[in-house]
């Protein structure tokens, strides 16, 4: 049996456990070892989105129109796909400007406008009331139903109605106390609540597990899996129709599309989502995981919604049991006490998580953006005398929490009866969607102005009140029903649910269409027609260009005036307490290598800005602005000056881009230069080698010439025969010298590009025949056999005839020098290929080792050991030959292996045009 006392005790035990988790997380955070710096905790805390609406209401919605509950989760999934673009920007802006709430964000964007912050706060509080009442209704209903166990009795059927109303009031009061204990124990300049985040993450786990447990129980316990359940449902015509919901039932495509859009905005602009996603975020990188983990969570918690809805409809066919309670009543009907209790705790998790975070976010807004700006203006002098305002701040927040929850209870009593859970929640979604133009426009469009945002919000919110809020009260009998049916004063065109005659839509679609037209129209229209102030220009630039700012100093350049360090310190100490103020000043001094306390700090623009930002963390941007202005003498910047600064800033950015560009170009140029330098060094080395080799080559013949001439000079009696022999050697060496010098000159000419080339059509067959004829005598003298394989006719090549002869002579004389000394054999072949001729000169000498082949064509390279073997030439011939062949577009190479002789080959392209080939 489940007694009221048992349920009560278990609930309190659960809340106590939450409190313990929060306490532990806070202690750890204070000790600098926070447990919430994890993307998983961050993702789970985002799931505060899933409230009692999700836990109880989704099934209720599914039971009425099939898939109508899904856009509420698909919309956010789609929005999250844009988080990388949108939320990342909001995170960066909020960190740099110490944003403490949604109202603070909007106020700060539009020139730190206190009026705008106040308006946003009012809209948020009124807009969220239905949502809070939904949670109260869900918790008190589930409690009331569970207490009746094992009977299943709907709350409306219980005779003792006052007792039930009291349940909701008690729930509200308990949650208020709990929220106060959670969120306002102390004041944090950054509005971080590590304990709260840890507890919310835990609640997200509990509600998911509880819901999955019911889902599994219904699908696999009461039925035989998905197939069985859906098959039985399909047998009932009414349920079958829900499986193709777009045809008949209330749901239509328009409603699907609008709910998707509405939820996309809700996930960004619900105050509690802004709180967990932006304010409580500790690391931008956590987004990477949250972007898919949070949608996955939403998918998981929705998998069993339809099975539970169908299971409930099949189990309670008479419609006596409210579909919003199926999650709880199904386990009760099956006599599963513990599961029912678990469900109750899951629903409690969902509701408390929402209420706690939402009221903390709202209370921060009420305190910072509504009450403080008014108090500071009204009693400015008296407040300035107070030494410590932290107590006042906390007091305001606590009162705000209690007030908000009591208002939620009031709404529940006034209007909560007439609507299902989801319908109540959607009214709140439509309210927060009004923030979308001001925020999205604010972070992507510099042209949005304070006046535009004010008008847009006012217009959108007014339409919301008229088309959703008033009808909700009218439905519940608190306003005359004639307002809905005949319109105000009987004017049909102004009927709240069919404004200007627009009919055929459900309430939410209708309200969204008109409120968005009014909101966006006013925002854009007024922004474009009213000039912005200097403050607005500055803030617009800080927000829209946030990724171009560096550090918090971004705002400092806009300030000019005089201040004193003690004044600034005292100001901070009044709101944060002296310890926190000391820490803040210490951190500021440390970062700049200065001492605090001491005389080092100067009250310059940077320090003033720093203090303002710190203060904004505690009391909001608008109030911080007022407070800082009270202790410094400010010279207001004119709008032209702000423009000038902004221009400068953008020039600086452009300039730094140009600088980066220049430096990249410089680097490239340096690399090129380095390369060129390497090449030059290499060339220099080659030149040195060349000079020393040439000198060496010149010295050898010179030495022998000199030796023989000295002999002839010193010894006149040398025999004639001997003398002739000596003179012969001298003549030969001189000839060698001349040849060498000619070759060096030749090479120099070729390499410097000064060689004279006469290009004409050359018949290579003729060149080869002529060369062979000239060499024939030499071959015969040395007993060298030669074979030539020449085709009948070959195409002409474009080349220099003399140079071609030079190449052939060089190759033939090389072959002659290196062929077998005893049985010399040389083979010459001329072949015509597709577009070139190939000439091969093969000998039967000892061959060229593989390692020498690569360097063979370099200058002064001779195969063999130059120390032991007598060199057979200058070593320039092959090099020059290759240069010539390459000059005419050919290629020269060698194929050889030791002991097999060598084959030198070269190619020459045949003349491209037929006219030349026959020449």
């Amino acid at each position: 049996m489940l007694h009221g006392t048992t349920i009560f005790l278990v609930s309190f035990g659960y809340l106590g456990l939450l409190f313990a988790i929060a306490y532990y997380a806070d202690k750890r955070a204070d000790a600098g070892r926070t447990i919430i710096a994890s993307p998983y905790i961050y993702s789970l805390s985002l799931a505060v989105y899933a409230t009692a609406w999700t836990f109880y209401g989704s099934v209720g919605r599914a039971a009425s129109d099939g898939i109508g509950f899904l856009p509420i989760y698909i919309g956010p999934t789609l929005m999250i796909a844009l988080w990388w673009v949108v939320l990342r920007k909001m995170l960066r802006i909020s960190k740099q400007n110490r944003i403490t709430s949604l109202a603070d964000f909007i106020a700060s964007r539009y020139g730190k406008s206190a009026l705008l912050g106040g308006l946003v706060t009012v809209i948020a509080v009124i807009g969220i009331l239905p949502y809070i009442s939904l949670q109260l209704k869900a918790v008190s209903n589930s409690f009331t139903i569970l207490v009746q166990y094992p009977q299943i009795v709907m709350p409306g059927e219980i005779g003792t109605a006052p007792m039930r109303q009291d349940t909701a009031l008690w729930v509200a009061l308990i949650l208020a106390a709990f929220t106060i204990a959670f969120g306002t124990r102390h004041l944090d300049a950054a509005e971080h609540h590590p304990g709260l985040v840890a507890a919310i993450a835990f609640e997200s786990l509990v509600k998911l597990l509880a819901f999955l447990a019911v889902g599994v129980f219904v699908t696999f316990g009461m039925y035989d899996g998905f197939g069985d359940l859906f098959a039985r449902a399909a047998a009932a015509p009414k349920l079958l129709a829900m499986m193709t919901p777009f045809e008949g039932v209330a749901g239509s495509y328009a409603s699907w599309v609008w709910l998707t859009i509405l939820s996309m905005m809700a996930i960004m602009f619900l105050p509690r989502q802004f709180q967990v996603a932006v304010i409580e975020n500790v690391d931008e990188k956590h987004l990477n995981k949250a972007i898919w983990l949070f949608p996955l969570y939403m998918l998981a918690i929705n998998v069993f919604v339809l099975p539970i809805a169908f299971g409930g409809l099949l189990h309670f066919p008479d419609g006596r049991v409210d579909a919003d309670t199926f999650v709880l009543t199904l386990p009760m009907a099956e006599k599963k006490e513990l599961l029912a209790l678990l469900v109750f705790i899951g629903g409690l998790s969902a509701a408390t998580g929402m209420v706690i975070v939402e009221t903390i976010a709202l209370s921060t807004m009420v305190c910072n953006d509504l009450v403080m700006p008014v108090l500071l203006r009204l009693h400015r002098l008296r407040l300035n005398e107070r030494r410590d305002l932290t107590g006042l701040l906390i007091g305001i927040r606590r009162s705000a929490i209690v007030l908000i929850l009591l208002l939620g209870y009031l709404y529940f009593k006034l209007a909560g009866e007439a609507y299902a859970l989801v319908s109540i929640g959607l009214i709140s979604f439509a309210a927060v969607a009004q923030f979308a133009p001001a925020i999205l426009g604010g972070i992507f469009w510099k042209g949005g102005t304070r006046a535009g945002a004010l008008c847009g919000l006012l217009a959108g919110f007014s339409v919301w009140v008229y088309t959703l809020f008033l009808p909700a009260l009218a439905h519940s009998g608190w306003l005359p029903n004639g307002l809905l049916e005949q319109g105000p004063f009987g004017i049909g065109l102004l009927k709240p649910l069919e404004l200007f005659g627009l009919s055929g839509l459900d309430e939410i679609n209708h309200a969204m269409i008109w409120s968005m037209i009014a909101n966006i129209g006013a925002y854009v229209g007024v922004s474009l027609s009213v000039a912005a102030s200097a403050d607005e220009h500055r803030q617009a630039s800080l927000f829209v260009d946030v990724f171009r700012q560096t550090g918090e100093a971004g705002g400092a350049r806009f300030w000019r005036g005089t201040a004193s360090v003690p004044d600034l310190y005292n100001l901070l100490a009044r709101f944060l307490g002296s310890t926190a103020a000391n820490n803040a000043f210490g951190a500021y001094a440390n970062a700049r290598g200065l001492r605090w306390p001491g005389e080092d700090l100067i009250a310059d623009a940077e320090l003033v800005h720093y203090v303002e930002v710190q203060l904004a963390g505690a009391i909001g941007a608008a109030s911080a602005r007022i407070m800082v202005a009270s202790v410094v003498t400010e010279e207001a910047l004119t709008i032209d000056e702000v423009r000038e600064i902004l221009d400068e800033a953008s020039q600086v950015v452009a300039y730094s881009h140009r600088l980066q560009q220049k430096s990249r170009e410089l680097e490239a140029a340096t690399a090129e230069l380095r390369e060129a330098n390497e090449r030059l060094k290499e060339l220099d080395r080659l030149k040195d080698d060349f000079v020393s080799t040439v000198t060496h080559e010149l010295r050898t013949p010179l030495t022998s010439i000199r030796a023989f001439t000295e002999i002839l000079l010193d010894e006149p009696d040398v025999e004639l025969g001997q003398r002739k022999k000596f003179l012969g050697i001298i003549a030969k060496e001189t000839e060698r010298l001349t040849r060498l010098i000619n070759q060096v000159l030749d090479l120099a000419k070729i390499e410097s590009g000064k060689a004279e080339w006469t290009a004409s059509a050359v018949d290579m067959k003729e060149v080869i025949s002529d060369t062979l004829a000239a060499m024939g005598q030499l071959f015969a003298e040395k007993n060298i056999e030669f074979e030539a394989q020449l085709p009948e006719k070959v195409s002409a090549v474009t080349a220099d005839l003399d140079r071609m002869i030079q190449v052939m002579l060089n190759l033939l004389s090389n072959a002659m020098k290196f062929c077998d000394p005893n049985a010399g054999w040389i083979y010459i072949a001329l072949t015509e290929m597709d577009d070139h001729l190939q000439i091969d000169v093969r000998d039967n000498g000892r061959g060229i080792p593989q390692e020498d082949q690569a360097t063979l064509f370099s200058k002064f390279r001779q195969v063999g050991n130059t120390l032991t073997d007598k060199p057979h030439g200058s070593g320039l011939g092959l090099h020059i030959s290759r240069q010539i062949v390459e000059h005419f577009g050919g290629r020269m190479w060698v194929e050889s292996s030791v002991g097999e002789g060598a084959c030198f080959s070269f190619t020459l392209p045949t003349a491209a045009t037929p006219g030349k080939s026959t020449a």
Binding site: L78, V257, W292
Partner: protein, 65 residues
């Protein structure tokens, strides 16, 4: 920065894909009687498309940049 920008553009493209798949008129194609793995076709389609979208978001979010 350019890596960040291209990642942003991919996310926008993914968003467009999601808007297309989970919206009118693609949904009408599945608004028919019948069952897939025992689950009504429309329900099955929505959950599969949704899961696939989340999978793609995971791949993109966890990729470098």
């Amino acid at each position: 920065m350019s890596d960040f920008e291209s990642k942003g553009q991919r996310f926008v493209a993914l968003w467009m894909l999601g808007m297309l798949l989970l919206n009118y008129p693609i949904l009408t194609l599945f608004n028919v009687h019948g069952a897939l793995f025992g689950v009504p076709v429309l329900y099955a389609y929505i959950f599969i498309a949704w899961a696939a979208l989340i999978g793609l978001m995971a791949l993109l979010a966890e990729s470098g940049g």
